[in-house]
């Protein structure tokens, strides 16, 4: 069976996961990424997801997924329980992003974090010209309805990682799923970081 192709930002995350790794995907949704990793990379995966029907869908795919909240439930996991902990497109919805990041690198030997880049030129231009909170392809919901409460730019994230004393193993800026060659904080709509403690 050929696995369904991944969403571009997930493909970038998946590329950073080694074969056969033990993986925890936080905010795993209906389990698309975990199922892909299991079927193509022989990964032993677990997931955490807030939404009950997404959990049901993921369990229906044969995945071990627990309904829970990354803001509160990560503390229950032992140190270095996973080779890789993934937080894709979820950090900006966390109550306490720095605490969550600290948990990621505690639970996982490495952490892969992807997030929408608020420094992208369209965001900057939209805010500068219209004076309104930007609504873009990667940030499609208006400010009062969005679950995203902690936006950051790629430069902000890099600064937080440094401040927390984390090692950035790899970093990439993506635009429409493709890696941008230069000025990622301006040209990328998504940032992807591989971190470790």
């Amino acid at each position: 069976m050929t696995p369904v192709p991944l969403r571009p930002d997930l493909a970038a995350v998946a590329a950073a996961v080694p074969e056969g790794a033990r993986v925890l995907d936080i905010g795993c949704g209906d389990g698309q990424l975990l199922a892909w990793l299991r079927d193509t990379k022989g990964v032993e995966g677990r997931g955490i997801e807030l939404d009950a029907s997404d959990v049901a869908a993921a369990v229906g795919r044969g995945l071990a997924v627990v309904q829970g909240d990354a803001d509160t439930d990560l503390a229950d996991y032992p140190d270095a329980a996973f080779d890789v902990v993934i937080l894709s497109n979820t950090l900006q919805a966390m109550q306490r992003p720095a605490d969550v990041l600290a948990q990621l690198v505690r639970i996982g030997r490495s952490a892969i974090v992807s997030f929408p880049n608020f420094g992208h030129w369209r965001v900057r231009l939209g805010l500068a010209l219209s004076g309104r909170m930007p609504v873009t392809r990667s940030l499609p919901v208006s400010w009062h309805e969005t679950p995203n409460i902690h936006f950051c730019t790629i430069a902000d994230f890099e600064a937080l990682a440094v401040e927390m004393g984390l090692t950035v193993e790899r970093r990439a800026g993506l635009h429409s799923g493709r890696q941008v060659a230069a000025w990622p904080n301006l040209l990328a709509d998504t940032g992807v970081f591989v971190l470790r403690r």
Binding site: A52, A56, A58, V59, G60, L63, A64, V66, G68, A81
Partner: protein, 367 residues
Amino acid sequence: MDERFGFDRRVTLPGDFPLAGGGVLPELTIAYETYGKLNANATNAILVCHALTGDQYLASAHPVTGKAGWWTRLVGPGKPVDPEHWFVICANVLGGCMGSTGPSSIDPRSGQPFAMNFPVITIADMVEAQARLLDHLGVGTLAAVIGGSMGGMQALTWAVNHPARVKKVVAIATAARHSAQNIAFHEVGRQAIMADPMWAGGAYAADKPPAAGLAVARMAAHITYLSEEGLTEKFGRRLQDRDAVSFGFDADFQVESYLRHQGLSFVERFDANSYLYITRAMDYFDLAQPHDGNLARAFAGVQSRFCLVSFTSDWLYPTTESRRIVRALNAAGAPVSFVELESPFGHDAFLLDAPEMNRVVNGFLTA
């Protein structure tokens, strides 16, 4: 073996059956139902464990009430546990009153019913009795053990006490221990039975049971299976067959009439002494107790995959209890899935139509 759907089976396994509390039963009879066919490698067996007042009539008509099986929403043709694919086993628990050895059974040593001479049993004893049945049926490893409420306690105990015999565990609306509130409600029920003069120290004749006491026990327990929201929606303050309150102690309110009916119909099919013994077994249940209260250590040797489901309005075994189990399984490194499903129906939700639960169980069993 007779393969008719849900043929009422019974087996007596001779020899001592030692119990966790130190007692010994001289022999063990287990009444059970099976659906489907065990495959050649005996790899498709699923054990379903029933709740406090359940029985082996999982998906076939009850011989006393004539009602359909108690979990036909989950088990049956086209359901997640389809006898077309699975060999499904459900046994009346040890201590029960539908054919398995219990307080109403005849003690072969005295020729009289055990009554209160029946030894106090535990959830682990119930599981050992099921293990003996599986040996008898030629089932080594279970593809899955599934249970809700007290059945979930048995399912968890299976994974802990027989790690190599269980591939998957589905534990629904359950807990890894009985809380003070759980024990308190059970004590009300037991005291209601024992306060009935007809109970006679447990030595009542089969045709003269402590019906009033058992009915009250059931009424109190039944409230814990529902939710305030569900009761309000179903009954509110509506009156029963009258336009005004009677200024008396008749069942003026529909909810009173309903509870009385629940109590009365329960005594038709359940034994009071069994109720005492089974509620006691549940009160004693605490998987973490042998590990100084550390549940993760209780799960340290498990080899099963786990699926837990709770319901939002279940206050008998609330979501916090399921989450405690999930946390401990995560800490023990066991693969676990968990979902809390929306329902207004309280603890009983697991026995009602729950399409999301079926979807989860189906996915978990199929994967």
